[in-house]
Amino acid sequence: MDFLNAIILLLNYIFVPALTYGSQLALGAIFVTLIYGILRFANFATGDMMAFGTMVTILITWYFQSIGISLGVLPTALLAIPFAIIFMIGYMLFIDKFVFRYYRVSKSPPVQLAMVSIGVMFVTQAVVRIIIGPADRRFFDGEKFIIKAGEFKEMTGLNEGLAIKSSQAITVFVTLILVSILFWFLNKTKTGKSMRAYSDNEDLALLSGIDPKRVVMITWIIAGILATIGGALYGLDKSFKPFTYFNNMLPIFAAAIVGGIGNPFGAFLGGYVIAFSEIFITYAYKKFFMYILPESMEPETLVQLLSTDYKFAVSFSILVIVLLYRPNGIFKGKVL
């Protein structure tokens, strides 16, 4: 019984939150990796683009709420996301046409494009803050929990409860579907294959008649979808605050590089690697050991490897270690 309790404890405090957080990071990391693989620059505007997509989602959600449309038990935001995606794709293509295209056509070095993306970051950040403000906003409505801790305890008769928020379930579910579709698209369809070819060797791809304009456009469209959904899921699960989104850019970069930048599958796994290690290392295992060890051996301290203050630092340290030992990432990068 104690053993079961210990397992439920870990599930509740480590596995479920890490899986959710990892899914949110994974979507962002795939976004970074796609841009890096096909457009060949590190996009520093990632976090703010996600914030922009979320902002549009929130605005549409508010509109739906005001005219009385809702999804019942599910959050209204799910209904708003498709409209937000359309808007976001427009925004991405607009930025590309007026900002990035010039440098791509004149074959500027990647560093210059990264600098330009910093300019985009400033502008996007300003637009988001001017339109919706810097405050913390929650836009989750509908049924909050799938299983509540108390109900779970009653159901199983265990000491430990397992709570699953519906936002967590939605996050994992949507991520899995989206990522499966994306991989199917990249691996099986002709357009997806042409994107991979373009990423692998631009000149050869051009020689074999692939239209670069089309590839770039589709990349931005996919990027818009990923940014909106990733951002909206994060906002549904936690809350929407432009500053947090900007900060999330860093673990997202870490996830993309750990997985091997340019490799979407690596980025997908990298998100989970970062999320799980952050939570594993900063969790206090005292209660866990109390369940599995006999009473005489119970620990007195919190049994915490690092205090939760260093949550971000953990993922960055992992990145540094990976860069040192495997500069190409855990999965070899640079090919889509």
Partner: protein, 456 residues
């Protein structure tokens, strides 16, 4: 003279703008903008040495600035003897342990051949080391943080004049740059940018959460100043006489003696804060000019020529027998040290150290905007960038307020759009920075004052 015309023109315009602020807003505001411009200029010079001379991207400026600030605290604050006796010994032991681990790893790296066992061994040593350090330090840290936590709760510093910290800050930053350079400099440009950014976040996290070191997010306030305090100045004889002399024309117009005294008091209060800021300006100007001379000399020396060769064609320079790795490390350390000086200067001016305020937006990306806008590779350009961008950063709010009022002039005062826009005035500065950066990169990619290399 002729070829330097655009430099002179650019700087004249910049100074004119600051003087206009002095005339129309107040000299206090103008001088505080000027001082921050000088500090920004030092930071941009550091970034320019790395990016403009050698083409190295360092997005970790924030971390080096914070280390400079930490140096200011550790140098100027008086030591806390109770804290030292409570837990100083444990901290010293941990320091020795860290040094021992570093030497052990160096020893292993030198004397054993690369293998899986060696890698896992080193990983094992690091992990056990961290565990041992945590166990030994825990009681000491708790004891230190328990010493009068409302005001101290940390080990304190050395109690020396704060100006020394400018040098120590440079050394702190150089030390970090050495480690980062050893780890990350082999990476490709954009990887290097991300890696340095993340490492500086780690540094900030440590400074924020190790309360025994510099009180963490509880902040250290009331650092000693290298210049007189306003309150003392206001009661000093010669200063009052000086103010009276400066404003004699204005004072003579007032006939009533009581009114005259009140007016003089008001003038002395205003004058004292202007005087303090002028003192800071003087100190900062010395640093900026000294650094400018050194960096200019370096730029035109054979060493500067070699750095440009490495920047423009690494392989060719390598083939000519230049040690690219070593030179990259050297210039990375030099540039970071300059940023460290700027960090210490900033804390000296503010008189307080707030680790929570070190954010990448303000201390990394804004500085980069300065370098790019001003002109990378050109020291005068970098300094001008620091001035222009900081000026815009501060004056963006009044400018955007003016523009909003101009465009919404037809709307009533209580119109929703107008109220909303007026409330979000602080965020228009990001918009201006972003647009400025994008426009400069598109239409003047080398910056306002582009790099010009003349062979003398």
């Amino acid at each position: 003279m002729r070829k330097n015309l655009n430099i002179i023109a650019a700087y004249t315009i910049m100074m004119g703008l600051i003087i206009l602020v002095g005339i129309f807003q107040s000299w206090n505001v103008a001088l505080s903008i000027f001082n921050m411009c000088l500090i920004s200029a030092v930071m941009t010079m550091g970034a320019n040495v790395q990016w403009g001379y050698a083409g190295l991207i360092n997005f970790g400026l924030m971390g080096y600035a914070a280390l400079g600030g930490l140096a200011a605290v550790l140098i100027s604050v008086d030591p806390v003897p109770e804290a030292w006796s409570a837990g100083g010994f444990d901290i010293l032991i941990c320091l020795c342990l860290i040094i021992a681990i570093v030497f052990l790893i160096r020893f292993i790296l030198k004397n054993f051949e690369k293998s899986k066992i060696r890698t896992y061994g080193i990983a094992g040593i690091i992990i056990t080391g961290i565990v041992i350090i945590r166990i030994t330090s825990e009681s000491g840290i708790e004891a230190i943080e328990a010493v009068n936590p409302a005001t101290t709760g940390f080990l304190g510093g050395l109690g020396l004049p704060i100006v020394f910290s400018w040098i120590v800050g440079a050394f702190f930053a150089a030390g970090l740059a050495f480690i980062v350079g050893k780890v990350a400099l082999g990476l490709r440009a954009d990887y290097l940018a991300i890696a340095t950014l993340l490492i500086s976040e780690i540094v900030i996290a440590i400074i924020k959460h190790e309360d025994w070191l510099a009180r963490g997010v509880k902040n250290v306030i009331g650092l000693d100043r290298p210049v007189p305090y306003e309150v003392n100045l206001q009661t000093t004889e010669w200063f009052i006489n000086l103010v009276a002399k400066f404003n004699s024309g204005k004072l003579e117009l007032i006939s009533n003696i009581a009114d005259k005294q009140a007016a003089l008091n008001q003038l002395v209060i205003e004058g004292s804060s202007v005087f303090v800021k002028l003192c800071y300006s003087g100190l900062f100007l010395i640093v900026v000019i000294a650094l400018l001379i050194v960096t200019q000399k370096a730029l035109y020396s054979p060493w500067g020529r070699m750095m440009r060769a490495i920047r423009d064609n690494e392989e060719a320079a390598n083939a000519m027998g230049k040690n690219v790795v070593k030179q990259h490390l050297l210039i990375f350390i030099l540039g970071s040290a300059i940023v460290g000086i700027a960090g210490a200067m900033l804390v000296t001016q503010d008189g307080l150290f707030t680790p929570g305020s070190y954010r990448p937006m303000r201390y990394t990306f804004l500085i980069w905007v300065m370098v790019i806008v001003g002109g990378s590779g050109n020291n005068f350009g970098a300094i001008l960038g620091g001035f222009a961008v900081w000026f815009l950063w501060i004056e963006a709010a009044p400018i955007s307020l003016f523009l909003i009022n101009l465009f919404t002039v037809g709307l009533p005062e209580t119109h929703e759009l107008k109220v909303h826009l007026t409330e979000s005035v602080p965020y228009f500065r990001y918009l201006m920075m972003g647009m400025g950066l994008l426009l400069i990169m598109r239409y003047r990619p080398k910056g306002i004052l582009p790099e010009k290399i003349e062979i003398k």
